[in-house]
């Protein structure tokens, strides 16, 4: 049935942004480990390669901006659902500039642009989980109530529920959608707690896929016209246990093969 709220719709485009050299030194970090810039660049190349050739998506590559060390994390700059793109107001001041390029790119894709102009509002896309039927917005260090309200206004058809994110950076630091009606969730306590809240708040039922590592719960689910269900998830080298879980889930959830590893 066609309706407007067609779940995930079809994925046609992907927007990525180059990695600035400043990422290593100036980007906001939650831990103090060294960033191997060369490796990061390589990983991203592999990622883009998968998107473009293996999945056949139209990849829009935005150039890196040295003055925006975090600009590679494009997820935070906009939330796109249906034909509407909400340009966010990132919680970290140093990242506000990232939305400009994103706005331009999305405009070029003919999306309706809604901007978050309220100066009291902050929202990182990383805190926004769209399940295909509703939104969950993590109230975190980066996202506040006002930001969530504006999102609710931009996507009026959907319920927008707030979920406190007590630990970790973003809501999607420990969860993501693994398919229609399937939430991939980390096994840490805050992750599980957040899941409980989401389940309680929802009129819909979701299956859950618990992966041992929170970080591994950050996947990208896509519905591709040509390939069907696709799940981009971490590699087995990175998180062997979690990767196995995703793999199993994949095979049980979808009839068609759907795994894509990013190596």
């Amino acid at each position: 049935m066609a309706g407007l709220m067609a779940g995930f719709g079809h994925y046609t485009h992907a927007v990525v942004r180059g990695i600035p050299a400043s990422l290593a030194k100036e980007a906001l970090r939650s831990s103090q480990t060294e960033v191997d810039l060369a490796k990061a660049v390589k990983e991203q190349e592999a990622y883009v390669e998968v998107l473009r050739t293996r999945l056949g998506l139209e990849v829009v590559e935005l150039p890196a901006d040295e003055s925006l060390p975090d600009c590679v994390f494009v997820e935070d700059a906009a939330v796109v659902c249906g034909d509407t793109a909400l340009i966010t107001r990132p919680g970290a001041e140093s990242r506000r500039g990232e939305t400009e390029a994103m706005k331009g790119a999305l405009k070029d894709l003919n999306l309706n642009i809604v901007e978050m102009t309220d100066e009291n509002a902050t929202l990182d896309g990383g805190d926004v989980l769209f399940t295909g039927r509703e939104f969950f917005v993590g109230l975190s260090k980066r996202t506040n109530q006002r930001g969530a309200e504006i999102l609710a206004d931009a996507f009026k058809d959907y319920a927008v529920s707030t979920v406190p994110v007590l630990e970790g950076l973003h809501l999607k630091s420990f969860c993501s959608m693994g398919g229609p009606g399937l939430i991939v969730i980390g096994s840490s306590e805050p992750a599980q707690k957040a899941l409980k809240i989401m389940q309680q708040m929802s009129d819909h039922r979701y299956d859950k896929l618990t992966v041992p590592d929170d970080l591994a719960a950050n996947c990208i689910y896509m519905n591709l016209p040509s390939k069907g269900h696709v799940l981009l998830h971490c590699t087995a080298e990175e998180f062997p246990e979690s990767a196995k879980e995703s793999l199993n889930a994949c095979s049980s959830q979808f009839a068609s093969p759907c795994r894509v590893f990013i190596s």
């Binding site: 407007l4 034909d83 039927r133 609710a152 319920a159 009129d203």
Partner: protein
């Protein structure tokens, strides 16, 4: 016979006028309207009127119109009352059409918020349904469209999109267009949500939304909480407070109560009613029995009286008539708004002058001369629409968020609250408190043999619940009693332990009891609870928490003697009841409070068996199979319909006075003393719970008056120490039954958010007449055949019981009896809280 003229505004904006007798009930008018509309599936609809405060209220079909409207304004509106979650399950097109009309209004007024594109799509279906195929010859379609209202923030751009989409619907029949409209509308997150302004316990403005699934809490249009119906144990209001008692979550131990402040008591009551109705309609198989039967009630006896969704679906599946022809126009609406503007000729659907060459997507359908497109075609067509949508993307963004949308929604919903109403004078409040207190005493104490423990005149008893939120905020209500009654509860709990052996024999009886006849039984039980309590000493060998008192026997002897007397009292009291009720029930809006227990099964939550809870769905199914009415919650009985049903003969004896209370009082003292003794004894042994199921007869000792099967059984099995707890039973795999019963209580419990423990303490210190508040809930939950939905649950919950006694010591115990796979049963004590006068809390779990 005086006739009055009623004016009813219909969904298409027209007026329907009819005459009714002045004393006609709401139902009469409603049926007249449905007849006029040729509507059979009427249970989704209702009539509204504006009260003195300009609030929209639902006309109660069971009551006289005149008494409800309280003015001479016989003006009504016909509206959708329960939005079917899946409109495609409606049987008749005409019903769907009316629902569409309501939704068009909801959408256009902003009450049902939707995005720009959704507005456009819904508008396009509206055009298709109401005026048929797009007519390319139409000179200035946009002018026409702009005459109609589709959205609160309608603008040229939206109208253009509506037109584009509308063109693409060519060939769709009106019924198909309506169906598509509904398919899209039903997915909107605010579909069918009735919003009410409120404040949370911290005074923050929020909104409460009642819908088919439960209660939603919004703050600034964000959903911040949700309570599904199965999660809610009790819904009540008191003055301008609205409470829901939540069953504990997996990780929580105890129930919690969440309170909200409404603007005034009318708003609280209105919200409460809407909840009761929505719950009944969407969750029950059949409405609860008429409130008449409930005499223990104080406060509103309101219950949903119509058919439930399940019933109405059943009924409409039997509809056997040719689809009625009806005029699906809002032509009336249109012509009114057009007002002289060039009227568009309603083109015949499928006229062939298609011009859609311009629209590539439409080519799909350019061949569609036949009006009877198959469903498939329509779907295909739908697919093309999403493409079309994409083509719209280049258009400017939807207009900026409209902050006032929710406001609009509210203003047009019955929930709106006018400021002036806030001002309930303090005096009034106080008065109402007193009033309710009085009724409390009068009714409750009389009604339930509980009068034996009279309430202190000044009800120092306020219950405190830590307003809910904290998970551990087990709300065992504390009344400020002086006498430790912990014993009672222990004793009672002892009884509850089911004895597998004995059950078999009695199970049948018990079960049949639970059904129709059970009502009587339960009544009896209620009345005699006191007796039972007194006569029962905990038996040794019973499984229980607190009570296995070797010493009990002696104490018991004494009590037995007393029992007789007490029994008599009880009877008398019982007789007095109905009358009391009458006087109180004189209705009137004096109903400052009321309660409603959504269902029993909910109480299962007590069991703390995670699997049960997890299986909400399954459980729900089962719940639905059960008659919720079986529940007897003495302490909260006010809202429980079923349990209180009394045989008519008895009721007639009513003339007896409630004065007996005097006598009872004396009794009471004695009893209380007895109890104390017992308690002392028990307390010593409290620490060694024993489980010897075999020895534990689970008989019930009921007073002679209570001639029931239960009784019989009790006698048979009766042993000196059994404590008859009203609890009906242990279940044997038989038909599904849930019973929940509670012993009598002096009803003092009310959760007050503001009260704190500290405050209570001081009150408790006074030496006054003891207050006893004892609740016992027993659920017997039988799985019929585990076949259908049973995913192989390891154990079947047989009984679960929570006992709360309120006094200086508050004890809450939960027992669970489960049948395990092999037919064994296992009883566990899930939790026990003992709260002493010092407010020490001791949580115990096993």
């Amino acid at each position: 016979m005086k006739l009055v003229v009623c004016h009813v505004t219909l969904l298409d904006g027209t007026d329907f006028t009819c005459e009714v007798e002045k004393r006609a009930k709401g139902q009469y008018l409603f049926f007249k309207v449905c007849e006029h509309l040729n509507l059979l599936e009427k249970d989704y609809f209702g009539l509204t009127y504006k009260d003195n405060h300009d609030q929209k209220c639902w006309l109660d079909p069971t009551k006289e119109i005149k008494r409800q409207i309280r003015s001479n304004n016989w003006q009504f509106a016909f509206n959708v009352k329960f939005y079917p979650p899946d409109p495609s399950l409606l049987t008749e097109d005409i019903t769907r059409y009316l629902l569409c009309l309501q939704l068009r209004e909801d959408v256009a007024s902003g009450r049902l918020p939707c995005s720009f594109v959704t507005h456009a799509l819904l508008g396009s279906y509206t055009l298709q349904a109401e005026i048929g195929d797009y007519e390319p010859d139409q000179p200035r379609p946009l002018d026409f469209i702009s005459q109609l209202t589709f959205a609160p923030n309608q603008n040229k751009e939206m109208e253009e999109k509506i037109l584009e989409l509308y063109k693409s619907h060519r060939g769709m029949t009106p019924a198909q267009a309506d169906t598509q409209f509904l398919e899209n509308a039903k997915k909107l997150s605010m579909y069918g949500v009735d919003l009410h302004h409120a404040k949370d316990s911290e005074g923050v403005d929020i909104m409460l939304g009642v819908c088919a699934n439960g209660l939603l809490v919004y703050k600034d249009r964000l959903r911040i909480n949700r309570f599904a119906w199965p999660k809610i144990l009790k819904i009540s209001y008191k003055r301008n407070n609205f409470y829901i008692k939540i069953r504990p979550g997996e990780t929580e131990q105890f129930e919690s109560t969440v309170g909200f402040k409404l603007e005034n008591h009318r708003a609280a009551k209105r919200l409460w009613k809407v909840c009761v109705e929505n719950h009944s309609f969407f969750r029950l198989n059949a409405p609860e029995p008429p409130t008449k039967a409930r005499f223990l009630t104080l406060g509103s006896k309101f219950r949903y009286s119509g058919r439930t969704q399940a019933q109405t679906r059943m009924a409409s599946s039997l509809i056997d008539r040719p689809a009625p022809s009806f005029e699906r126009t809002s032509s009336k609406r249109i012509s009114r708004s057009l007002d002289g503007a060039p009227m568009i000729s309603i083109t015949e659907a499928g006229r062939e002058s298609a011009e859609n060459g311009r629209e590539p997507h439409l080519e799909l359908h350019s061949d569609s001369k036949d009006h009877d497109k198959t469903q498939e075609e329509v779907l295909k067509h739908q697919a093309s629409i999403s493409q079309l949508k994409r083509s719209f993307m280049e258009a400017p963004p939807p207009s900026p968020p409209q902050p006032n949308q929710w406001e609009k929604r509210l203003t047009s919903s019955p929930a709106t609250i006018r400021l002036q109403q806030q001002q309930v004078s303090l005096a009034e409040e106080i008065a109402s408190v007193l009033f309710s207190r009085h009724t409390d005493i009068g009714l409750d104490s009389t009604a339930k043999a509980a009068c034996i423990f009279p309430e202190p005149p000044l009800d120092a008893v306020k219950t405190t619940s830590s307003a809910a939120t904290s998970s551990s905020a087990a709300v065992c209500s504390f009344s400020a009693p002086q006498r430790p009654l912990a014993t009672l509860s222990t004793a009672l709990s002892a009884t509850e332990v089911s004895v597998p052996q004995t059950e078999a024999a009695t199970a049948d009886n018990a079960i049949s009891d639970t059904k129709e006849p059970a009502k009587t039984t339960e009544v009896e039980i209620e009345e005699t609870v006191v007796v039972q309590e007194i006569s029962r000493a905990p038996k040794p060998g019973l499984v229980t928490v607190a009570a296995s008192t070797p010493a009990a026997p002696s104490a018991e002897q004494e009590m037995r003697e007393q029992e007789v007397e007490v029994q008599e009292e009880a009877v008398v009291v019982e007789e007095a009841k109905p009358r009391k009720e009458e006087s109180i029930s004189s209705e009137s809006e004096s109903e400052e409070e009321a309660e409603y227990h959504p269902y029993l099964p909910v109480s299962i939550s007590h069991t703390q068996i995670p699997e049960e809870k997890e299986e909400e769905e399954e459980q729900e199914k089962q719940e639905e199979d059960k008659t919720p009415e079986l529940q007897v919650l003495a302490s909260d009985a006010s809202s429980l319909p079923a349990e209180v049903i009394q045989p008519a003969e008895e009721t007639r004896r009513e003339e007896v006075e409630s004065k007996k209370e005097d006598n009872t009082e004396t009794e009471k003292t004695t009893n209380a003393e007895e109890e104390k003794e017992v308690e002392r004894e028990t307390e010593e042994s409290t620490d060694d719970p024993m489980v010897t199921p075999d020895e534990a007869p689970n008989g019930l000792t009921l007073p002679e008056e209570g001639v029931t099967v239960m009784d019989a059984r009790a006698e048979e099995e009766e042993e000196p120490k059994m404590n008859g707890e009203p609890s009906l039973t242990e279940a044997e795999p038989l038909p599904q039954v849930i019973c929940c019963s509670e012993p009598p209580v002096v009803k003092t419990e009310m959760v007050t958010i503001s009260d704190t423990f500290a405050a209570q303490k001081t009150e408790i210190a006074t030496k006054e007449v003891p207050i006893v508040h004892t609740e016992t809930k027993t659920i017997t939950y039988e799985a019929a055949q585990l076949d259908g939905n049973g995913d192989g649950e390891p154990g079947v919950l047989m009984t679960a019981q929570t006992i709360t006694s309120e006094s200086l010591c508050t004890t809450t115990t939960t027992h669970i009896t489960k049948t395990l796979k092999g037919g064994l049963s296992e009883t566990r004590i899930e939790k026990r809280i003992v709260i002493t006068g010092d407010c020490d809390i001791d949580h115990d779990q096993s």
